[in-house]
Symmetry: C2
């Protein structure tokens, strides 16, 4: 079934107060929480939004967390991510920026359920609609990770980056998202590495390797300085594979060229996201450690300092903040 | 068999002097020429380099042009394109730039044949190897189209662009290619339009439509002015589809967004290829009419004038020039 259930105490049903869920396109993660907001149970499944019809969400949720539920009463379930998309369980309409991150729950919607054990709320994403046609943007799921930054410091101000398939850069001002941009970096890398002419040259990269690290850093620097060369640098990578006698042979060759491709894609993103930002501004990276380390290396290369917040911790903190707001509103 | 043979006179075998062939990755085109270098026969086939093993080229060529051949003697066949690649019929090693375009035949190689009716020469491509790892480039086939420019004016000087899957920009100085760059534009567009998240938003575009034209021009201008925004503009296209109430509905919507995507991809190329070029410099476009019209619109948008040379005419003229040089060398 592609799911795992891990009970941290034998008395989950006695202690469970509510359930937090990050329901993405391709998987979901659920946490059971007690009255102190401590995690007492976890579960994951690969039944993401892309593999479910609207009327299948409730059964999947019950399959995953049914064993945690008290025998009487209703349990709150707070869900962020693609389950709230138009093509998901029920649409939770985007909140337009600027939006305070401690008020995401104001846009939450309750899907109609067949059973009465759960009370589900789907959190909204954020949208950006400027007067010109060129600055439209949306996020769904990442806003809850950003809310995690605000959980500890309500007036958080700064620049946050969430690397990934569609990397998000958000400007936070006094606890609100004032604007954001999405970069297609991860998807661009994947397409180029596996579907383009570069697939003949590119393997999988390993930034631990010194030659890869050097190739990555050089590519970031080149594109940051001259983003207009991105498309020709891509083909240049293929030509380099054909012509460059200094490249290593064997598997290492594809590894070095993969590192270069990664540097080109991330360098293009940084060129757009960091240009004009004061170099003193530290950038908060939210996500898994390996990817954030890669971004840290890239950002250090062009002169920026970073701090890292774990992606899972951030989304859980964001869901907790939203749950507190929901409880306060329902009192 | 995916081939067409069209005889222009009933006496081809009497008049035929030599055969010109453009043998690409996915198809080939052959022309039969008389003593005045007039085309007296044409044939095409979909047996490109990607669908042939090295020992299958001769048979495919004979299948296509066998009927044209005189009953006695040997007929010269001059071939450009991917048939001369390492994975083709026989490798014709790249000539390094700078290279005079009237001297391509100096790098031609004769594959060993089983029969004695033909004398085949495979023309080389061009390579560029700079001292830094970042300016490697190769072309194979396009150099013969460029040679077509030199056929009429041996000291041709100027900037030429060959749009396509891998668009080439070459600087010609007094009949020689002094440098060139390849942009992955066409492949990038195809990948993004058909394999990325944008496939949900993008249809096929029609630059005849005024709304498409407007979207294309706006996208070219935006990226030319700010190439660093390319990756975020890509995702913005998806967000625009989700949010922009001013977009047309129905099929026209995907058409307008496709035109925008095309403008972004071509705009990025022009941003790299034209930056720093004097605006007085007219750019010679070599290729099919529809694609060159699209590039003309893009180049006019950023202030450059263009002239158009038909791609088929150019490659034939280049093959003729190479054949003359080969005859002169063999005398």
């Amino acid at each position: 079934m592609g799911s795992t259930v891990m009970s941290e105490t034998p008395e989950i049903t006695d202690q469970l107060i509510w359930i937090a869920v990050d329901w993405g396109s391709s998987n979901l993660r659920a946490w059971g929480l007690d009255q102190h907001d401590h995690v007492i149970a976890r579960a994951t499944s690969d039944k993401g939004m892309l593999s479910l019809k609207a009327d299948e969400y409730e059964a999947e949720l019950l399959r995953l967390v049914g064993d945690w539920l008290p025998t009487t009463g209703q349990t709150d379930v707070l869900v962020c991510g693609m389950a709230g998309a138009r093509q998901g369980w029920l649409e939770a309409a985007y909140l337009p920026v600027p939006t305070r991150l401690d008020q995401l729950s104001q846009g939450a919607v309750p899907p109609t359920l067949t059973g009465d054990q759960l009370r589900v709320y789907l959190l909204p994403g954020l949208s950006q609609t400027h007067s010109t046609a060129t600055h439209f943007d949306v996020m769904r799921g990442e806003e809850t990770q950003l809310a995690g930054l605000v959980a500890d410091s309500p007036d958080f101000t700064g620049l946050a980056c969430l690397p990934g398939t569609h990397a998000k850069w958000a400007t936070l001002e006094a606890g609100a998202v004032s604007g954001f941009s999405t970069y297609l970096t991860g998807e661009l890398y994947q397409l180029l590495a596996t579907k383009s002419v570069l697939r003949h040259s590119v393997g999988s990269d390993e930034l631990q390797d010194p030659a890869c690290r050097e190739a990555f850093i050089a590519a970031v620097s080149e594109i940051y300085a001259a983003p207009e060369t991105f498309s020709s640098r891509l083909f240049g990578l293929r030509a380099q594979d054909l012509l460059d006698g200094r490249l290593p042979t064997g598997d290492t060759r594809g590894t070095v060229l993969a590192a270069r491709l990664s540097g080109l894609a991330i360098g293009l993103e940084l060129s757009g996201a960091c240009r004009g930002r004061p170099i003193e501004q530290s950038i908060t990276l939210i996500g898994n450690q390996a990817l954030c380390q890669r971004y840290t290396l890239a950002l250090n290369t062009i002169g920026y300092q970073t701090q890292h917040v774990d992606g899972d911790a951030a989304v859980l903190a964001g869901l907790q903040l939203a749950h507190q707001a929901l409880k306060a509103a329902n009192c």
